[in-house]
């Protein structure tokens, strides 16, 4: 019988280079799944949230019900949300995505609506006076001006989604959460720590990426900031 290798995997240490090199493919797959679930959910949420916010802005009476509904959805615990959708989607990745979409909606609708409401009436009047129709007004004036507030909501929604994906481990589609879950059951310290750290790294990277996108999309913000004393 050969003696077991005396490396950090055998000693079950928290930080282990051996783990990184031997399980590279597993880690990579988990990160890819994590990124796919997060980005898909946030994108779908964005596609749903923008029309909702625009409608709520246009018709004042719609704002109350829309905000109330999305807030109620936000209150439902994530584990319960994934489980409640179980009869609809079964054990699948769409289950996790659907749950995350419902969570992101609250943050996105709230922020986009706040951004739209903050567009000065003078500006809207001026655009209308220049002959802008309602659609052109929305696309070229209101939405760009609402962008900073919307991006703030998008950043919060994305960062929250990255950390919520881990709960998807309950149905087997949790990205890095799967590794944390199995690592917990097998008392595999290196796997739990590595996956957790990667989660945080993804969240921070996504936040910085969106911050960069925001700066690129709103050059006038920087210009006015530079002019101000």
């Amino acid at each position: 019988m050969t003696a077991p290798p005396d490396d950090c995997l055998a000693r079950n240490e928290w930080i282990c280079g051996e783990y990184l090199s031997t399980r590279r493919q597993i880690l990579l797959d988990a990160v890819v799944q994590h990124l796919q679930l997060t980005s898909l959910a946030v994108l779908i949420a964005l596609v749903v949230a923008v029309p909702l916010a625009v409608l709520a802005r246009r018709w004042g009476w719609a704002a109350g019900p829309v905000l109330a509904l999305t807030t109620v959805l936000y209150t439902i615990p994530s584990l319960a949300m994934f489980s409640l959708l179980l009869p609809v989607y079964g054990l699948s990745a769409s289950l996790v995505v659907a749950g995350l979409v419902l969570y992101s909606l609250t943050l996105l609708v709230r922020n986009i609506l706040a951004g739209l409401r903050a567009v000065p009436e003078d500006t809207r009047q001026a655009a209308r006076g220049m002959g802008y129709g309602p659609v052109r007004l929305l696309l070229t004036v209101e939405l760009p001006l609402a962008l900073p507030a919307a991006m703030a909501g998008l950043r919060i929604a994305t960062v929250s989604a990255v950390s919520l994906v881990t709960i998807g481990a309950i149905v087997g589609f949790g990205g890095l959460g799967n590794l944390i879950y199995t690592g917990m059951n097998t008392y595999f310290k290196a796997q739990v720590l590595t996956a957790s750290v990667l989660c945080v790294v993804i969240a921070v990277a996504a936040d910085l990426l969106l911050l960069g996108v925001q700066r690129v999309l709103t050059p006038w913000e920087r210009a006015t900031r530079a002019v101000r004393p």
């Binding site: 109620v72 209150t75 439902i76 615990p77 994530s78 584990l79 319960a80 949300m81 489980s83 409640l84 179980l86 009869p87 919060i156 960062v159 929250s160 990255v162 950390s163 919520l164 881990t166 709960i167 481990a169 309950i170 149905v171 959460g177 944390i180 879950y181 690592g183 917990m184 008392y187 310290k189 739990v192 720590l193 996956a195 957790s196 989660c199 945080v200 969240a203 921070v204 936040d207």
Partner: protein
Amino acid sequence: MKTLGDAWSWLTDSAHWAGDDGIWHRLTQHLVLTVVCLVLSCLIALPVALVLGHLGKGGALAVNISNVGRAVPTFAVLVLLLLTPLGTWGEGPTVVALVLFAVPPLLTNAYVGMRGVDRSVVQAARGMGMTGSQMLWRVELPLALPLVLSGVRIAAVQLVATATIAALAGGGGLGRIITAGFNLASTPQVVAGAILVAAFALLVEGAFEVAERFAPGWARGRGRTG
């Protein structure tokens, strides 16, 4: 629809309500866990935030802690704590993870509330010869109270929601009904558990809403300046 019917019959079966795995026991665990963690995190976060807000220092710290807190998955923290020596200490890891999770919103809201107090009111109080602690207790805190309380409300509702995750790591609480359902491959039980958890979370949110509506004016911010 069939699943919902099955979930309903699971819920109305009195056998599922009694005993150590029963709904009542899990509900009590959930409630105790939430209340203990809420009290602990208030005891930690509020004094720090009030003092920092009074001194006008550490604003960036309060906000950054809040942002970092959002990026760290509670589930990961829970499992990490579970694998440390703390893991042998019963509900210890769960309590620590939940407190870490509830501190940021409390800290940020209380700090922002304290800083939002009208500076001219504070200067008037100083002009009247109030000492620092008198100013904190008699002027700043009463005016900041609505925001401080809304932080407590956010923390409470999030705690109820997050305490569910403790079940993934073998802890108690209502989430356990869901995880047990998954282990038994019983969709009706999973859905029934989810309905219970969601109802409980909405109930707590509603309770806060009602309490806020009937609270005296000073706690709601009617007397707020600025």
